[in-house]
Point group: C2
Chain length 323, copies 2
């Protein structure tokens, strides 16, 4: 693969966030502001062709650029659901079966020749955004994480994004919090994600007898019921909070973190989740240095994925350790 | 604090390894060879004065230098038992009560003005040595660890030593493997170290009815009995191996490691420890990228601490991220 050109040119970054429910595209300015934005639902027909999905994304890119008067751009940054090969950017998003080893980075390079095109995991992009312009700004050692349908994250240590051997560092969702716990989608057992992901939480509550008014229930319904004082819903959030606290104690001890920023749908549950989290963290993170870690809500919300994707280009010296 | 001068001068590094049982000093060449070496037992009288201990170390330094014809040295590198303030190098080694906030780095700078003087955690130095000249050579993403009286380690990610916020990254011994497990010396519960450190392992075996021939028993005795087929001793090693496998699965998922190098006394137990370790690791490290991690015995043995201390000076671009 030809290496990217060095730094970004002038203009905004064309930022792309690819998930199982939506494709989002924005023009992100160097300060992190999103100057233009559009999105479509991710097509999800059972036999969807990889090329049809690609053309859907291309149409969205064309539209956002045309609506803004076709500005010259500094580069293209992408956050995409994993797994993927990194830095090659061949993506196989779990929730998008139409793309398996789809050469996303190469396709975007062909569309935007001569510009830096950088693709990373979507949760990594959220972590990068929170470090660049959000809750971890100015901190050298941070874990940014998303607690939602899955539990993902990204690690910034020594002021730089940590990729690990294959671009997969930051997978806090697969830290083990209960070795004899429930099976995890990864094939393992007792991972944080197996307990604290929204659907697992709602399923556990239903097993305990939680009977919400609707047949299709989500972690959001569970959080709402907990806020109304429903005992099973409250216990379910305590269980997730405790699992988070244990995983974060392990990560803090291993990586000597200063700050942990938590976003994603489930983090909206507030103290019902964060109080038991803090409690478990303080029980288990007892080394002197670890007691100083702070857990904070993510600051940027939904647009974090786009902002982080743009930072891969704008601040490649810190967040892009590849060609 | 004045910053160190930039790179090393010519000559060997004066390397120091400070632990609860011995003080070791060596002259280490740029290739990693130890050209001169001496050691003394660490004085351990109950009321030992900090200055007496310092003079013991100074006498050892003088002797090693004099025996080698007082060569000009490139700098001074130190591995010391934790905790310490880093990079200031004020040390309070758990097993050396005489030193509490002892300004080791400043003292050595005063003795060797104009030279780089660098102090880090002893387990970090072992990990650095294994990356620089041992089992992790040429790998970008490695955990080096020591399983002995304690369980410590150091992280190399993206080809560089990771320090974390306060120089404490790499504390694999305090990753939680059983949240309801035994209390740990750190004040927490269910840490790897609380289960897998040698003394904890021997104590557990004695509780189960292990009755070795001697009153003073060590993990070495336990490993010897396990090698002879003693069922409780074998079970104890399996228990430690499983705890190690779980912690290493968490670390591999979080940091996307390529290789884990394990040294220290207990690692001498061989397959009786490594087989259950691999088994638990393969149960829990199931993400595609994590299945590729390799666990190997450390290659450098006892001198690793000195070799890593020297690498802080010789290869500061990778292993020393401070002034």
């Amino acid at each position: 693969m030809t290496p990217d050109p060095g730094g970004p040119g002038p203009g905004p970054v064309l930022a792309i966030d690819i998930g199982g429910t939506k494709l989002a595209v924005g023009l992100v300015e160097p300060g992190g502001r999103i100057a233009a934005y559009d999105r479509v639902e991710t097509p999800n027909e059972p036999d969807l062709d990889a090329e049809v999905l690609w053309r859907t994304l291309e149409a969205l890119l064309d539209k956002v650029l045309a609506d803004s008067g076709a500005p010259s751009i500094a580069g293209v940054g992408v956050g995409c659901g994993g797994p993927m090969t990194w830095p090659a950017g061949e993506v196989s998003p779990l929730n998008i079966p139409a793309w398996r080893d789809f050469p996303l980075r190469d396709r975007l390079r062909a569309r935007h020749p001569g510009l830096p095109v950088r693709v990373h995991n979507d949760a990594v992009c959220v972590a990068v955004a929170e470090h660049w312009r959000g809750a971890g700004r100015g901190r050298g050692n941070m874990l940014g994480m998303v607690v939602s349908t899955g539990v993902g994250g990204g690690l910034i240590l020594g002021g730089r994004l940590i990729d690990g051997a294959r671009g997969n560092a930051g997978h806090i969702g697969h830290v083990i919090v209960d070795p004899d716990g429930p099976p995890c989608g990864c094939g393992g057992r007792g991972c944080l994600e197996a307990i604290a992901r929204g659907p697992a939480l709602a399923a556990w509550a239903r097993e305990q007898g939680w009977r919400p008014g609707r047949s299709e229930t989500t972690a959001k319904d569970l959080a709402d019921d907990a806020a109304r004082g429903h005992p099973i819903a409250t216990t379910a959030l305590r269980r997730a909070g405790r699992a988070l606290g244990i995983a974060l104690a392990s990560a803090t001890h291993l990586c000597d973190l200063e700050v942990i920023a938590i976003g994603g749908g489930l983090s909206q549950a507030g103290p019902l989740l964060f109080d038991p989290l803090e409690e478990a963290l303080r029980v288990h993170a007892r080394m002197d240095y670890a007691r100083e870690v702070r857990v904070v809500p993510a600051a940027l919300g939904q647009p974090a994925g786009l902002i982080g994707a743009a930072a891969l280009v704008f601040a490649g010296d810190r967040y892009w350790n590849a060609d």
